[in-house]
């Protein structure tokens, strides 16, 4: 392979890695929108909390003398999912449920309030400085001709792909095969009708927030390990990017969120590859505007039909 194609391959790997985590966070936005038609602006903060919990659990377990990395990671994952889901459920209970049925703008504002609250809550309890974790999973494969360009694929990147792929598959199976998943799809089609048919829609909506938060916690764990640094403000940027991914793919559509995340990640990497990297955000958001101009409902979104 030539130097150029090796370089392109490297940037593609970089883009897909970051894109997969955007996709994981984006699903939380898209599921909530799909069912209750609202944007959960506190979702980025849930991701940030997931990262913090991971760091605390890993540091705690290592302090207790547990040396086996897989055990530490599994415990961290379980604890992060549990705590983040609790926060996700609480956000729904506190900031959404009491306001359901009101003007759409009101829960939006309360969600932004929730987001600011959670951010400052973490600042006060954990401090506003960067918290760092030493690299846990190191090494990787190098291939390509070292005299031209050596492509590196780290174990961490492989882990990110693998975990993202597994979570996405499980989610798809859950939505398409399980009873609860069927109820979710029914709610997404017509909330009022589903309620009339005897399904507890409150439960389903709470479940949506919990599932979204669990995926955000997985992303928090993966990105926390990958970058090794977390601060109370990471949720804002990550949330913004994931929200963009969800809109790009068609908000409300789960495959759309996955696709949108990957497209956004790859676009960022490719822009940084061939233009000065400060244009990265200009190009990705330019792309978003262009796609919305031609397909206002996003790539895989269904156009909203006014119900009569």
């Amino acid at each position: 392979m030539s130097e150029f194609s090796l370089y392109l391959l490297q940037q593609l790997i970089n883009g897909l890695t970051i894109g997969s985590t955007y996709a994981l966070i984006a699903i939380g936005y898209t599921m909530v929108y799909g069912i209750i038609g609202m944007i959960n602006f506190a979702h980025g903060e849930i991701y940030m909390i997931g990262s913090y919990v991971t760091f605390i659990v890993i540091a705690g377990l290592m302090g207790m003398g547990i040396a086996s990395l897989p055990i530490i990671l599994i415990i961290a994952l379980v604890v992060a999912i549990f705590i983040s889901s609790t926060y996700g459920w609480t956000v729904e209970r506190v900031a959404y449920r009491p306001l359901r049925g009101t003007n759409r703008l009101i829960p939006l504002i309360s969600a932004i309030g929730m987001s600011i609250f959670l951010q400052n809550f973490v600042v006060l309890s954990q401090g506003s400085r960067d918290v760092a974790l030493p690299p846990q999973i190191t090494g990787g494969w190098n291939f390509g001709d070292p005299s031209l360009f050596e492509v590196s694929l780290s174990y961490m990147q492989v882990l990110i792909f693998a975990v993202t792929f597994i979570s996405m598959t499980l989610l798809t199976l859950f939505i398409s095969r399980s009873r609860m998943g069927r109820a979710c799809r029914a709610c997404s089609e017509d909330l009022g009708m589903t309620n009339l048919l005897g399904i507890d829609t409150n439960k389903i909506i709470a479940l949506t927030f919990i599932v979204g938060a669990a995926l955000a916690a997985i992303a928090g764990l993966l990105l926390g390990l990958y970058y090794g640094v977390v601060n109370p403000f990471v949720g804002f940027i990550a949330g913004l990017k994931a929200f963009t991914a969800a809109v790009l793919g068609g908000i409300g559509s789960i495959p759309g969120a996955m696709l949108g995340g990957l497209i956004l990640g790859v676009t960022e990497a490719m822009t940084a590859a061939f233009f000065p990297s400060e244009y990265k955000d200009v190009v990705s958001f330019g792309l978003l505007v262009t796609i919305l101009l031609f397909r206002p409902s996003g790539l895989l979104g269904k156009p909203e039909v006014e119900k009569v």
């Binding site: 506003s128 960067d130 590196s152 961490m156 970058y227 090794g228 640094v229 940084a272 990297s277």
Partner: protein, 372 residues
Amino acid sequence: MNQFRKTLLSLSTAVCIMGLTAAAQAETLKIGLAGPSTGPVAQYGDMQKIGVMAAIDDINKAGGINGMMLEGVVYDDACDPKQAVAVANKIVNDGITQVVGHLCSSSTEPATDIYDEEGILMITAASTSPSITEKGYKTIFRTIGLDSLQGSMAAEYILNNAKPKRIAVIHDKQQYGEGLATSVRDLLAEKGVKAAMFEGVTPGDKDFSALIAKLKKENVDFVYYGGYHPELGLILRQSAEKGFNAQFMGPEGVVNSDLAKIAGKASEGVLATAPKSFDQNPINETRVAAIKAKGEDPTGPFVFTAYAAVEVMTDAMTATKSTDAEVLSDYIREHDFDTAIGKVKYDEKGDLTESTFLVYRLHQDGSKTPAE
């Protein structure tokens, strides 16, 4: 009766006067201490505070200034230009006439306008942006060298010592980082060394893999980074993971033990221009011991520049027996001072006549040694 009244009157007057003098003795001379005590760069604020408080303790132990005890009052600007203006106004309202601070150049700049206008003596121990002293202020000084000096020092080191084959200059698009990066790039270009890349990154970004792949493709073997430690730490960490092993160099904004915490082993051997390690200077032995005895860290780059800022202020106050900023400023411009950072002499603008920087090599345990 009349006699008695007179006595009573004089007695009460005497009591009053005694009360007044007692009050005057109890009153302290306040020194404002402006910098971040919260936010992402709060460590630098801590360094400044350690230095100022140590200086104040030493001076008070030696009997204070003109019979008055000193007291440090901490103001938090979080390194945010808007909060810096609010802090400056608060200092004016609190009637404080001497300020050590601010810390980040971008906060110092808006605050200087207020201090100069209100006749407050301000000495910054950390802000290195040249534009701060370029507006012809009278009461603004520093105890640290300029950015531009750091840039030329870095460029000189790159040309004479590092001699890289291909160099990239990266910055964080902010006043401090981009300013330094531009000056390094231009100085190198003057000597015929053209940077292979000159690019900005977004502060707060976490993923630099695309940038690193590009550096790798360009076969860069030396990277100058203009910015602060959180981004450089991640760039170093991700470079090591991707097998990109260039020599990195940064300004004093990256000299922070958090760099080693973020980057771990990857931070070993990074070059940086930083204020000289005054804590290793034998003249500061007792001061270092006193700071350590309080359980604080004397090694930060701004500890002794802050210490020296207090010394310059108080020396001028002792000599002039005044706290008037104009009088003090005139005195400071015309005299030399013996301080914790060595001999200090000012030019007309209020800048030091000699650079206080040196090129250091940083280590993974957070320490630093002078670069060869």
